[in-house]
């Protein structure tokens, strides 16, 4: 599979700098690779560092590294890879026709120079992976666009590993999209406008007035941008980011794209068609590293918990509880003991005192935070390091989440 390799590996600086910066990037890159190897080689694997690497500039750098790190980010064990499914998978499968139709039309997801025969083989594998996951998880429902996500995994890690990664992803990050209806997906889309409102009320009001809705971002969200970006390198870079983050991060990224285009938006005719058209045509030359760090920034500033009420108010009151279950991903059975709980509460108080600089640094929180919550903390810490944001924000954010997580994980 040399083809795959060459697609998303690039030695070029993501910052497109001059040759001086290029040199900089080379050494940064080398340092980063060493750090990743180091994180992979310890027992247990240093997932915190891997997350940070996946988020920070350049992401995971190469497909070779992704093959090793993505499973760790998803907390997937690689020892029992599934067997190649048999023919029976395609018989009497309610989704088979739709999957076939979508995969047949997915030519653009494959490298342009790939020989037809090879592509057709991969398309068959793509169908198998999708049906395999659906068959093993009858609670999951296929949606058009799911195939755009699966193909990314297939091209990077190959069929067998892709099957388990996608299965994990489907029961976690993508879970809401795979309900029998798209109500929860709609609910997640409802986070978009409140985020935009926080940053640029003018853009928000303009969009409201145009009644553009949020469907222009639907395919972005449910395919993790795989459906709309033509450069595979950008797609995998975003996947590094999303795999390391909270499942709502794609909606923050969507908001960041809209905000990045504020001038165009405001110059657009204020009607649904024009604005929908403008926004749904995603520019292919976006500065991804910049946007990723902005999305992380917004996430820290306006965490989902803060936006939840507004999002719910966009339609009828409802909670997409399953969205938050994702935190379980990195959790173990380890339960927080009461001492830890009490200490955390003390910190909450400290952190909330207006104007007070919390004495706790992220590193301290790590000690007292129960394991189940570490997922949250790590994701945010990864962002922080990437963004150079203050530990203060991190601590506050993580603590604000805590009550919700308690309810979810320790009823």
């Amino acid at each position: 599979m040399d083809m795959r390799k060459s697609r998303s590996e690039s030695g070029a600086s993501p910052l497109d700098g001059g040759s001086g910066r290029h040199h900089d990037w080379d050494s940064k890159r080398r340092r980063k690779m060493a750090e990743i190897s180091q994180a992979l080689s310890v027992t247990p694997v240093d997932v915190a560092t891997l997350r940070r690497m996946a988020i920070s500039e350049g992401g995971l750098l190469s497909d070779e590294i992704r093959r090793k790190v993505w499973p760790k980010l998803l907390n997937v064990q690689m020892d029992n890879l599934p067997e190649k499914p048999g023919e029976e998978l395609r018989v009497n499968n309610k989704d088979y026709n739709q999957v076939l139709l979508d995969v047949r039309r997915s030519l653009r997801r494959f490298p342009p120079g790939m020989p037809d025969e090879q592509r057709e083989g991969l398309q068959e594998e793509l169908i198998d992976i999708i049906l395999h996951v659906l068959q093993r998880n009858p609670q999951l429902h296929y949606y058009q666009g799911y195939h755009d996500i699966v193909v990314t995994f297939l091209l990077v890690v190959g069929e067998r590993l892709a099957t388990i990664l996608v299965e994990k992803l489907s029961t976690h990050h993508l879970r809401d999209f795979m309900d029998p209806t798209m109500d929860n997906t709609k609910h997640i889309l409802n986070y978009l406008m409140p985020i935009i409102d926080r940053v640029n009320p003018e853009v928000h009001d303009f969009m409201q007035q145009a009644e553009v809705g949020t469907i222009f971002a639907l395919s972005w969200l449910i395919t993790w941008f795989g459906h709309v970006l033509s450069d595979f390198r950008h797609v995998v870079r975003l996947y590094d980011f999303f795999l390391a983050c909270h499942p709502l991060m794609p909606i923050y990224f969507a908001a960041v794209i809209v905000l990045y285009r504020e001038e165009e938006v405001l110059e657009c005719e204020c009607d649904m068609a024009s604005v929908h058209h403008l926004l749904s045509q995603i520019p292919q030359d976006l500065p991804y590293e910049l946007l990723i760090s902005r999305a992380g920034d917004l996430f820290v500033q306006f965490p989902p918990s803060e936006l939840a009420r507004e999002a719910a108010a966009q339609q009828e009151e409802r909670t997409a509880a399953s969205t938050f279950k994702d935190f379980e991903l990195a959790s173990t059975q380890q339960r927080p003991d009461t001492v830890l709980r009490r200490r955390r509460k003390e910190q909450v108080v400290a952190g909330r005192e207006p104007g007070a600089v919390p004495k706790v640094a992220a590193g301290v929180v790590a000690v007292v935070r129960p394991r189940a919550r570490r997922f949250v903390r790590l994701a945010v810490m990864g962002l922080t390091v990437a963004l150079g944001a203050a530990a203060l924000a991190v601590v506050n954010t993580a603590l604000e989440w805590a009550p919700k997580l308690d309810l979810q994980l320790f009823p």
Binding site: Q98, T181, E202, G213, L218, E267, A273, S280
Partner: protein
Amino acid sequence: MESSVELSSSLPPPRSRIFKIIVIGDSGVGKTCLTYRFCAGKFPDKTEATIGVDFREKVIEIDGEKIKVQLWDTAGQERFRKSMVQHYYRNVHAIVFVYDITNAVSFQSLPAWIEECRQHSLGQDVPRILVGNKCDLRGAARVSTDVAQKFADSHSMPLFETSAKSPGDNDHVEAIFMTVAHKLKSQKPLALSQPPSGDGTVPLKKPTEDRGGYSCSC
């Protein structure tokens, strides 16, 4: 609200009218190909699944008047209709139902699609047409013209059989959409004007509680 006064008191010269047409039908019947053929004049080399709603438009001329035809190409998979596509049913001027003549199921789904439109309170007065696509595959036809015609009659809509890929007559797809446009033009001489929006930007004030006061009908 002051801005609404601004809007209505300084009307720019009337702009071209817009006909908004929604295209619906099962996944794979060729909605994207048909709308692409009409707007770009050719069959697309590659289409992909439509996720949500895609928008295409074309300016046409009828009796010397320039008219913008907006086509809303919707996702065929059932799950998208229920909660997603809703928003786009609003204010449509015409509906194009599409089925695939080689796929009986896509024809059997039509009553559900029609019901869907009814639920979105698109009444009988909204012009509707039925298009049987993929006629280049006559040999594989599963829906006869007779049956389709009866169905169309019973719902008082005209039936067109065509092919987005190779219509016998190259302009056939275009002719179909033009028929709809003519119908709309004769039916609603004034009701369809585009709301004025000056130089393309609408004066916006800081957000206020009562956005409803805005008389922006865009």
